[in-house]
C-alpha cells in the first residue's frame, strides 16, 4: 500500500488540461490521482510526470478559472474503476461516472467536478457462497455468485492479493448490498473483509488467471465477410481502419448487436455523441442474440465523446478494457469495442505536446507504439484457476489522417492485431458495404483456427475460403486488364472468372446493414449459403459468347442476391435455393 495520505501541493502552472503542481509535503506516485480545489469545484487529475518536487498532472475536466496557488490533495491511489455486480446496462463516462445519475441535477450539461458512485450502493443481490471456511483461494478466485441480468456474476477474491488466502468466514446465501462484507480472508496473517465490489487501477492489466491460451474458436459476428473471410477468434484482436464515412461506426454497431458473446463493452472514445445516443435508444428495444433478453442488459457503454474532456478520453479506453478483464475472470466471453483508438492516441499526443516531450512521427509521442501494443495485449483467452475459460476480444477502429494507412496509429496497430479489416473509400463510395477491402484485409486467425473451423463448419471450410480469396484476386486482375483493353480484349474464360468474383463480392461479401434480414447471418446460414455459392464458383460453365455469359450471371447473381433478403427457413429461401441449383445445372454444372 502506498502511504501518502498527507501529500498535498499547490498549482504552479496551467496549460490547457495540463497543470504543474509543486508538492508541499509527502510522496507522490506516478499515475496517482489528486484533486485540485477551485472555488466552485474539485477537479480530478492524474500524475503523469514527476520532476523533483514538481509533478505534472492531466486534469480530467475543463481548467477554466484555475489559478496558481490553488491547493491540490493527493489520494495515494491510481486511477481506478469500481468492479462489482450492477455494471451491466450502465452508461458511463470515461471515468466511470454514471451519466444517467448526472442527468437529474445537472439538467442538460455535464458540469465539471461531479463524481458519482458507479454502482448502486443500496441494491441487494442474491448471494450464494461457493467456498467454505478453511478453503484456500487465490486472487480472482470465485467466493460466491449473484445473478446479474442474464449472467452469473462471480464475486472474486481481491484481485490484487499476493499468494493464497484462507477463507475465515463466509456469509450464507442471502440478500446483500455491495458494501457488506460477505467473506473474511486471512492473507499473510491478516484478516481482511471482502465485499462484492473492489477497485482496480485501469492502467494495469488484471492477470489473476492460471495462463493465457491460444485462441482457436470463432467469434461469430454474423457479418459474412468477417466470419467467413476474415474471422476473428474469441480472445483475439482486430482493427478497423478507414477514412471518414467509410463505415467504421456502422460496422462496430453491427458487431455489438449481433455477436454471440456474453457481454459487450462499447467504448465511444472521442467520436460523435449522436452515435451513442442512437445506441442508448436502440439497445433496450433490441434482442440479445444469445439469451433473447434485452440487448442493453448485456452491454456496458463507456461514452467519452469528442467534446468531453480529452484526458478522460484517454482513460476511457482503459476503463473499458478493465471492465472486460473483470468479467473475463468470471469465465465469460467478453467483446470490447473501441471507436476510435485514434482519438485515444490523439489524447496522448495532446498531453505529450503540453509536456514538451520530444515528438515522434506526426507529433505522436515516442511511446505510442508500446501503448497501443500494451492495450491490445490485454485482450486474450485465459484459463482461470478452476480451469474455466474466459475471453476478452478487442476490436478497435482507427481513423487515419487523410485516410492514409501509412500513418503511425494504423501502422502501430497493424503490428499487434490478428485481423485487419481495412475499409476503403472506393468501396464506400460505390456503396459496397461493409466497405472492407477484401484484397487488403487479412486475418491470421483463419489458419490459427483451421482445425476448429474444419471440424465445426465443414471439413473443407478453410480450403474453400482460400479458394474464394484467390478468385477475388484473380477477378481484380482481370478487372484491371479490362479497363485497358476493354471487354473485347479478354477471353471468355477470363470474363467468367471475373463475373464469378463479382458475384461473390456482390452477393456474399456485401451485406445491407439496414435490412432486417440481411443485416445479420447466423453461422449456420453462412455455411449453407457459402457452400452453395462455392458450388457455383467452382462449376466450369462454358458459353459460346460473352453476351451469353453475362446474361447467365445476371440471372444467377440476382437469385443469390434476392436469397439474402429471405429469412433462413422461409419458403422463399427454399425457392431461391432450388432456382439457383436449376440455373447451375442449366449452365452445365452437375449437382453432387
Amino acid at each position: 500500500m502506498i502511504d501518502s495520505s498527507l501529500t498535498t501541493g499547490h498549482v504552479v502552472g496551467i496549460n490547457g488540461n495540463m497543470m504543474a503542481v509543486e508538492v508541499d509535503t509527502g510522496n507522490v506516485v506516478q499515475n496517482e490521482v489528486a484533486f485540485v480545489k477551485l472555488p466552485d469545484a474539485r477537479l480530478k487529475a492524474e500524475v503523469i510526470k514527476v520532476i523533483g518536487k514538481k509533478c505534472y498532472m492531466q486534469v480530467f475536466e475543463d481548467t477554466t478559472g484555475m489559478a496558481v496557488g490553488m491547493p491540490v490533495e493527493f489520494t495515494g491511489n491510481m486511477l481506478a474503476v469500481e468492479l462489482g455486480p450492477g455494471l451491466l446496462g450502465q452508461i458511463y463516462d470515461g471515468l466511470q461516472n454514471p451519466l444517467t445519475l448526472l442527468e437529474n441535477k445537472q439538467e442538460f450539461f455535464l458540469q465539471r467536478g461531479q463524481y458519482k458512485e458507479p454502482i448502486d450502493r443500496q441494491k441487494k443481490w442474491d448471494w450464494k457462497p461457493v467456498v467454505a471456511v478453511g478453503d484456500r483461494v487465490r486472487a480472482g478466485q470465485w467466493l460466491g455468485e449473484v445473478p446479474e441480468k442474464f449472467i452469473t456474476h462471480r464475486v472474486l477474491a481481491p484481485l490484487g492479493m499476493h499468494g493464497s488466502a484462507v477463507v475465515k468466514k463466509i456469509l450464507p446465501a442471502g440478500a446483500y448490498a455491495i458494501t457488506e462484507a460477505v467473506a473474511e480472508l486471512e492473507v499473510n496473517g491478516k484478516t481482511v473483509p471482502v465485499t462484492m465490489s473492489q477497485e482496480w487501477p485501469v492502467k494495469k492489466a488484471i492477470k489473476a488467471y492460471k495462463e493465457r491460451i491460444y485462441p482457436e474458436e470463432l467469434l461469430i459476428t454474423r457479418q459474412r465477410i468477417i466470419d467467413t473471410l476474415f474471422p476473428i477468434s474469441r480472445g483475439g484482436t482486430s482493427c478497423i481502419p478507414g477514412p471518414f464515412g467509410a463505415g467504421k461506426t456502422v460496422l462496430q454497431h453491427l458487431i455489438s448487436k449481433f455477436s454471440s458473446v456474453d457481454l459487450v463493452i462499447v467504448v465511444a472514445c472521442g467520436e460523435r455523441a449522436g452515435e451513442v445516443v442512437e445506441l442508448i435508444h436502440e439497445f433496450p428495444e433490441m434482442k440479445d442474440p444469445k439469451t433473447g433478453g434485452s440487448l442493453m442488459d448485456r452491454t456496458i457503454i463507456i461514452c467519452n465523446t469528442s467534446s468531453m474532456p480529452v484526458a478522460a478520453r484517454e482513460a476511457s479506453v482503459y476503463t473499458g478494457i478493465t471492465l472486460g478483464e473483470y468479467y473475463r475472470q468470471m469465465g465469460l466471453d467478453v467483446l470490447v469495442l473501441a471507436d476510435s483508438t485514434s482519438r485515444w492516441a490523439q489524447a496522448m499526443r495532446e498531453m505529450s505536446g503540453r509536456l514538451e516531450e520530444i515528438p515522434g512521427e506526426e507529433a505522436f509521442p515516442a511511446y505510442l507504439e508500446s501503448r497501443i501494443a500494451g492495450l491490445y495485449e490485454r485482450a486474450g483467452l485465459v484459463k482461470l484457476h478452476d480451469d474455466a475459460h474466459g475471453a476478452v476480444t478487442l476490436i478497435g477502429t482507427v481513423s487515419p489522417a487523410g485516410g492514409n494507412f501509412e500513418e503511425p496509429v494504423t501502422q502501430a496497430t497493424l503490428k499487434v492485431v490478428g485481423a485487419f479489416l481495412g475499409l476503403s473509400r472506393k468501396r464506400s463510395d460505390e456503396r459496397k458495404f461493409p466497405a472492407i477491402d477484401p484484397l487488403d484485409s487479412y486475418s491470421l486467425y483463419i489458419d490459427q483456427m483451421a482445425d476448429s473451423l474444419n471440424k465445426n463448419l465443414d471439413r473443407e471450410w478453410t480450403k474453400m475460403v482460400h479458394e474464394a480469396e484467390a478468385l477475388l484476386v484473380r477477378g481484380a486482375e482481370i478487372g484491371k486488364m479490362m479497363t485497358v483493353v476493354g471487354e473485347e480484349g479478354i477471353s471468355i474464360d477470363d470474363l467468367v472468372s471475373y463475373l464469378k468474383s463479382e458475384m461473390l463480392d456482390f452477393t456474399y461479401l456485401q451485406q445491407n446493414a439496414f435490412d432486417d434480414i440481411d443485416c445479420a447471418a447466423t453461422i449456420e446460414r453462412q455455411v449453407v449459403d457459402f457452400k452453395l455459392l462455392y458450388k457455383a464458383l467452382k462449376t466450369p460453365f462454358s458459353f459460346e459468347t460473352k453476351a451469353e455469359a453475362r446474361k447467365f450471371f445476371v440471372n444467377l447473381q440476382d437469385n443469390f442476391y434476392q436469397k439474402n433478403y429471405a429469412a433462413e427457413d422461409s419458403p422463399e429461401y427454399a425457392k431461391f435455393v432450388s432456382k439457383i441449383e436449376e440455373i447451375i445445372v442449366s449452365g452445365g454444372g452437375r449437382l453432387v
Binding site: L102, F108, A273, G274, S307, E350, E356
Partner: protein
C-alpha cells in the same frame, strides 16, 4: 479590486507575456495601449507568475508599457431577445451602429458538453427545396454538416438560401474571415428574405484581427445554446471554418507548440469537435443545427482541416464546379428521415437515381476513351443530361415531393421499368402512367 499591470515582458505574434499574480486560467483582460487603443485578451497559459495572453485585436503596435487589467471572468456573451436583428463583431461589439445590449444576462462561451443521455435521436427533416440535398442527402434538424468547397464557389449563396428556406426559429450567422462584400451579401439576403428580425450575426471580416476569428464560433454557439434551451429551433451558419482553423494554427505556432500536420496543432480535432458537437436536439427543449463552410486548400479533401472536419461532422456536401456532387456528399442522418418522415418511395428513388447516374458517368468515360457507343450508352447519356439539368443545377428550386415525382418521370423517359432496380411494389405504385 482589479490589479493593473503595465509591464509586458514578451510580445510574440499576437501573444503577450507578463508577470502577474492571482490570474485564473482563461480569464479575460482589458488592454489599453499607450495610444489609447483598447482590446480584450485571454489567458492561455500560466507558468508560475508568467502569464501568456492572446490579444483579440492582435499585438501589432502593442507597447510593452500597455496597461493590462484582469477582469476576473472568462469571455462572455450577452443573451436576451434583444440580440435578434443585431450584428456584432467577433469580440461581441455592436457593428450595426446601434447601442450595446443592456441588462442582458451574460453567459460564458465555450461551456460544457451536453450530457449524451439528454440528447434525443434526431427525427425532423429540414426541406431546402434543393433536390441534391432533399432527395439524396437530406438535412436533419440538429445535424452538423459542412459544405466542402473551394474559393470562388457559391457556398455562401447556398448557405444563405438554406437559411431562408429552413424555417428555423432563429438563425445565427458566424462569419469568420468574411470578405466585406460577402457580409453585406448575407445581410441583404436576410433583409430581403424577411428573416433579419430573427437573426443574430457575429461577423469577423478579413480586415479584422486574426485572433478575433477564434471567438466567432464560440460566441455564435453560446447564444444558440441559450435560445435552444429556451425551446427554439436554431440554425447556426459558420463560414469559413478553415479560416478558424488557420487562426488556431497561428496561435499554436506563436506558442511554440509542436505541430502535428502541416503546422496545425495536435488538438485540431478536439478544437473543431468541441464546436461542432454543440449541435444537439435537446430532450424537452429546442435544437441547434450547424451548417458550416470548409474551404479545402488546393481542393484537397485530405488536407487536415477538411479531413478532421469530416471525421467530426455528420456528413458533408461537396460543392465543386457550381454543383453539389452526389458522390462525395453524405448525410449521415439521412436514414433517420428517409421513408420515415418523407414519402415511402424516397429511398428507392434516391438509390436508383444515383446508381443510374453512376453508370451514366461510366458510359461517358468509356466513350471518351474511344470505345464504341452502344444503344444502352445512348440511354444513359440522355439520362445524365436530364439529371444534371433537372436535379444538379443549383437554380432548381422545388419541394421534395415534386422532386421525387420528377425523378420517376425522368427515369421513365429514359429507361424501361425493369432496368431501374427497384422493388416491384414500389414501381407499380409510382411509375408514371402511360410511360
Amino acid at each position: 479590486m482589479f490589479k493593473e499591470y503595465t509591464k509586458i515582458t514578451n510580445i510574440i505574434g499576437d501573444i503577450i507575456e507578463l508577470s502577474a499574480e492571482g490570474v485564473t486560467y482563461r480569464e479575460l483582460a482589458a488592454i489599453t495601449n499607450h495610444n489609447g487603443d483598447t482590446s480584450l485578451a485571454q489567458v492561455i497559459r500560466i507558468d508560475g507568475t508568467k502569464v501568456s495572453l492572446q490579444v483579440f485585436a492582435g499585438a501589432k503596435g502593442m507597447s510593452n508599457r500597455a496597461s493590462v487589467r484582469f477582469l476576473g471572468h472568462p469571455m462572455r456573451v450577452p443573451y436576451s431577445e434583444d440580440l435578434l436583428g443585431r450584428i456584432f463583431s467577433g469580440s461581441g461589439q455592436p457593428i450595426d451602429g446601434k447601442p450595446a445590449i443592456a441588462n442582458a444576462e451574460e453567459t460564458d462561451i465555450g461551456g460544457p458538453s451536453v450530457n449524451p443521455v439528454k440528447r434525443v435521436v434526431p427525427r425532423n427533416f429540414i426541406e431546402t427545396r434543393i433536390p441534391m440535398i432533399d432527395i439524396f442527402n437530406p438535412l436533419v434538424e440538429s445535424q452538423k454538416l459542412p459544405i466542402f468547397s473551394t474559393p470562388g464557389e457559391p457556398f455562401n449563396e447556398l448557405l444563405a438560401r438554406i437559411a431562408l428556406q429552413a424555417k428555423a426559429d432563429i438563425v445565427i450567422l458566424g462569419g469568420i474571415g468574411l470578405k466585406f462584400d460577402e457580409y453585406i451579401g448575407f445581410r441583404r439576403k436576410f433583409e430581403e428574405g424577411g428573416i433579419m428580425d430573427r437573426t443574430v450575426m457575429f461577423v469577423h471580416t478579413a480586415a479584422d484581427p486574426v485572433v478575433e476569428r477564434l471567438l466567432v464560433p464560440d460566441m455564435a454557439l453560446a447564444v444558440a445554446e441559450q435560445f435552444g434551451i429556451a425551446g427554439k429551433r436554431v440554425l447556426v451558419l459558420l463560414t469559413d471554418m478553415t479560416a478558424f482553423a488557420d487562426a488556431l494554427k497561428e496561435i499554436s505556432v506563436a506558442m511554440e507548440q509542436v505541430p502535428s500536420n502541416l503546422g496545425y496543432p495536435g488538438s485540431l480535432y478536439s478544437d473543431l469537435a468541441s464546436r461542432y458537437e454543440k449541435a444537439v436536439d435537446f430532450d424537452g427543449a429546442g435544437s441547434i443545427t450547424i451548417l458550416a463552410v470548409t474551404t479545402m486548400p488546393g481542393g484537397d479533401v485530405t488536407h487536415p482541416v477538411p479531413d478532421n472536419t469530416g471525421y467530426i461532422t455528420e456528413g458533408q456536401y461537396y460543392l465543386v464546379n457550381g454543383v453539389i456532387n452526389p458522390f462525395g456528399s453524405l448525410s449521415r442522418l439521412k436514414q433517420l428521415v428517409i421513408g420515415k418522415v418523407t414519402r415511402d418511395d424516397h429511398g428507392a428513388v434516391m438509390n436508383s437515381m444515383i446508381r443510374l447516374y453512376a453508370k451514366a458517368l461510366e458510359s461517358k468515360k468509356k466513350i471518351s476513351m474511344g470505345f464504341e457507343k452502344t444503344e444502352t450508352d445512348e440511354k444513359y447519356l440522355r439520362y445524365a443530361d436530364l439529371f444534371e439539368q433537372r436535379f444538379m443545377d443549383l437554380r432548381v428550386d422545388i419541394p421534395l415531393n415534386d422532386a421525387l415525382d420528377l425523378g420517376w418521370k425522368t427515369m421513365a423517359e429514359c429507361f424501361d421499368r425493369s432496368e431501374i432496380g427497384v422493388k416491384k411494389e414500389v414501381v407499380d405504385a409510382h411509375w408514371p402512367k402511360g410511360a
